[in-house]
Amino acid sequence: MNLWLVLAVNSVTLGGLLFLLSAGFSLIFGLMKIPNLTHGSFFMLGAYLATSLIAHGVDFWTAAVVGGLLVAVFGGIVERLILRRLAGAELAQVLVTLGLSFMIADVCLMVWTGDPIRIATPSALRGATSVAGLGFPTYRLAISLIAVVFAVALWALLDRTRLGAMIRAGVDDPAMARVVGIRVSRLFTVVFCLGAWLAGFAGVIGGPILSVYPGLDGEMLPLALVVVILGGSGSLLGSLVGSFVVGFLYNFGQAMFPELAYVVLFLPMLIVLVVRPQGLFGRPAA
């Protein structure tokens, strides 16, 4: 297969994973105004938990869902016990999430050691699928499909349900949302758990491609930051567009300027910051 096509497929796959990761990050940031610096750790933790589940005979998809759930429970505890105590002190909340990310990274290193662990591709999705006469790796197509399904589901949740309307109200104007009787603090927990679940789930399904290794958290977090700065916080469409932009830049950058791939990744972010600081799809701060 053509090199460019391979790169394009890989870019779409990475974009899909990044969307799962950054949609939660963006919602948390939009609603709670916290850049959740543990988000990369959630991604890594989900993947590590799944490797243990799979080693105990659980099948891949169950492990992905359950791994995500465990991360969501952990996220909920963090939100309830620590972030809640610091309500209003946004800076303190950021610093706590940073401190937690160091602790999670060290615990993972202790439990799962420093060797990279590869999650086996589920057997049904191994090999290639031919589309229009070209062979594509089936698993990568599946990830792209999952990302699309989640994008639609999240859009439906936010745009078509009562819960989604409450979240949107909380993002727009938390004070007014409280006045009209929305329990914004409960929304915080819901959104934080949802974001943590998405991150943990993404970590598991990314496992067959990326493997799990110490430092994965630190590699994914900046990508999520770039996506959100690029797309604008609290915007689902922004995360979607941002994720694919970053996915393409990362893969094509690595192929064309291997030494500078990491810098190429940040260029559009810098341009957006200078030209449109609120992000492509964000609204200017009130």
């Binding site: 105590r85 950021v94 706590v96 930051l225 700065i229 500078l260 990491y262």
Partner: protein, 318 residues
Amino acid sequence: MSRLALGVALAILAAVPYWVGGTYYVNIASQVLFYAILALGVNVLAGYAGLVSLGHAGLFGIAAYAGARIMNEGYGPVGVTVGALAVTLLASAIFAVLALRGTGLGFVMITVALGQIVWGVAYRWISITNGDNGIAIRGRPSPLGLSLTSPAGFYWATLVVFLLAVATMAVFVASPFGASVRGTRDQPRRMNALGYHVWMIRFLAFLFSGFWSGVAGLLYLYYNQFVSPQAVALTASAEALLMVIAGGTATLLGPIAGAALVVIMKNVVSAYIERWNFVLGAIFVAIVVFMPDGLVPGARRLWRWARASARPALRSVG
């Protein structure tokens, strides 16, 4: 009285190599001093300007990398110092222009991203930075013919730079510029209405902060005679910020106390267990949750409270 206390403190600091016992401790004292300079630099932004940076290890590292490259080209101490600091100032200006597009949390996120770019370059741009292997330099320089090779010699040189940094900070805090920086932190709109150029004041504060981070980075390079991507990792930026927050933001002595705490903790903890990152994270969480204003203001408050509660007791005795 306070002049006397200052004199005593200086004498104690200058005599560290004589009373601290062993070169190991002298080296730790040197580390405390150059990390204190970094913390003082971070404090200019995080404390006085209210702009929390999580990218300062980037500036610290740029100075170290630039110094190493220039030194390996064969330049002397003056050339290295001037060159590295010029590069750092330029990088600080670029950082500032980008990061000052946001304030508050936006600023934090942008500095994280900028710091990660520097890390990415240090790690991947192998032709310039030698990647993961880092760059080594051949021995410490000898400015003005003074040898910095011995631990005590290096300590005294660092102490001189450190005292210069503290003096500069004291002048900065008392100056009209220092007051205007605090003004942009507390009342940016009012400062704007009064005719101050808020952006320019923040920009200059960023340069000032970056300059001292660069000085600390150079000292780090001379101390280790080596620099690798580890120096510019997010952990390093977080450590610098922890020093400031642990000691107390917007105080002169806070960052110094914080640097001493973090450096000593790091060396002591690492001697017993491997889990420094876990401890670092735990201290971070504990300080933010339980002692949000830092050790120096916290201790001062405790002292005032102790005196206030001791006074009635004394009176009843008299």
